[in-house]
Each structure stands twice: as structure tokens, then as C-alpha cells.
């Protein structure tokens, strides 16, 4: 399936775009998505952390992804 991933901050800079489309197996997990992204963008591995948010919540590694989920990469936050 194709997943649209929203990008912010340094991940947006690394990819050079505010959005990214990734092809994964059906019912891929968050961990599988992370593995695929790390393969495509080696610079992600340099970050302190890189979480995945699904529908505005932080997602666990074993969470299953669906095509209509709102998915975003969350590099280390620094608000406040």
C-alpha cells in the first residue's frame, strides 16, 4: 500500500519536501515503516530519536498502519 507521511523540522529538510509517499506491504507496522524510511534516508539514523505519529497520537512499533491514517514523522521536539 502507499502511505503519505507528513514531515516537519529537520526531517522536512533532510527529505527536501513537507510530504513523502512510501510503498509498504499491506498492514505494515510502524516498525516496518521506520525500517523502510531508514533505508531510503540514512541521515534519519543520525537523529536523537524519530517517532511516528498516527492520527495525532504517538504510535507503538507494533501498531498496524492503514492507507487513510494520518501519519507523520516526529523528530525530537523542542517546543516551549
Amino acid at each position: 500500500m502507499k502511505l503519505k507521511i507528513s514531515l516537519f523540522g529537520i526531517t522536512k529538510e533532510i527529505v527536501g519536501s513537507p510530504e513523502l509517499e512510501v510503498s509498504t506491504a499491506e498492514n505494515a507496522t510502524v516498525a516496518e515503516l521506520q525500517t523502510e524510511l531508514a533505508r531510503q534516508y540514512p541521515r534519519f539514523a543520525e537523529l536523537t530519536s524519530l517517532a511516528v505519529a498516527v492520527n495525532s497520537e504517538y504510535a507503538a512499533p507494533d501498531q498496524l498502519l492503514r492507507p487513510h491514517d494520518e501519519i507523520a514523522l516526529i523528530p525530537p521536539v523542542s517546543g516551549g
Binding site: 525530537p76 523542542s78 517546543g79
Partner: protein, 138 residues
């Protein structure tokens, strides 16, 4: 509960007004402003980027979590700025009201500490000779 994300200057007085409550004797307010230096480097300005929808959702969750921990919490107001900020500008305001003072300090500190951990907002510090996304790299 008043939770806001804005690209306009933050009105601190409005946040204070939002937590006014005749049953509360204590109001604690934390204001985060842009410092002129960070880890020894001179900061020229900051750019805050937010994942708006999730940021608002997570700020709301932090306020709800605070109310679970401090059931006597009366009012909570959180306003976070985004976009370009200059030195001295207010980046975030947290205001809480409680019947007694100890809980106002504890709840306000919990909220700002947790905001800094979970709310998807990213700060880029601009120096005279470059810029860096804060905390992005080890």
C-alpha cells in the same frame, strides 16, 4: 481549558484572564521567552514549526493529564507561538489556577515539562553564522 497555537504575539493578559476563578486562590504562570543565547552561542532569532493538529491535541491531553493528577485544578490555559520570533518574544505561556498555592506550582511545572516532551513543535535557532534544529542530534 483554553488551548491555543498562534503565529501572532501571545497575549499573556488573556491567558491570565482565562484562569481567573473565584474558587481559586492561586494562579501560577510560566512564560517561556526567546533568550539571546543558547549553549554559549548568540541567538539572533528563532523559528518555531508546529504540526498544528497534533500539537493542539497533545496540549489538550497534557492539560487533561494534569487534571487527573491534580483534581483540584480549576482552570488551565496554554498558548504556544509558532513562526518567527525575535529575542524577548514570548514562545509559550502556561497558566493554571488552584485553590492553594503548592498545587499551582506543581501542576504548572508538570504541564510545561510535559509539553516540552510530547508536543510536536520544533525550534530552529538562528545564529549569526548558521542555524540548528534544537535537540535534533545527540
Amino acid at each position: 481549558m483554553q488551548i491555543e497555537l498562534t503565529d501572532q504575539p501571545i497575549d499573556v493578559a488573556a491567558a491570565l484572564a482565562a484562569v481567573q476563578d473565584d474558587g481559586a486562590g492561586a494562579v501560577n504562570t510560566f512564560i517561556g521567552t526567546v533568550r539571546n543565547q543558547s549553549t554559549g552561542k548568540k541567538v539572533v532569532r528563532l523559528d518555531y514549526e508546529a504540526y498544528d493538529k497534533m500539537a493542539l491535541h497533545q496540549m489538550r491531553r497534557v492539560a487533561e493529564l494534569a487534571r487527573e493528577k491534580w483534581p483540584m485544578l480549576r482552570q488551565v490555559a496554554i498558548t504556544h507561538r509558532k513562526g518567527r520570533l525575535e529575542i524577548g518574544d514570548v514562545a509559550v505561556v502556561v497558566a493554571v489556577s488552584t485553590p492553594h498555592r503548592a498545587e499551582s506550582f506543581a501542576a504548572c511545572q508538570f504541564i510545561i515539562d510535559t509539553i516540552k516532551q510530547v508536543v510536536p513543535i520544533w525550534k530552529k535557532e538562528e545564529y549569526e553564522d548558521g542555524s540548528v534544529w534544537v535537540a535534533a542530534h545527540p
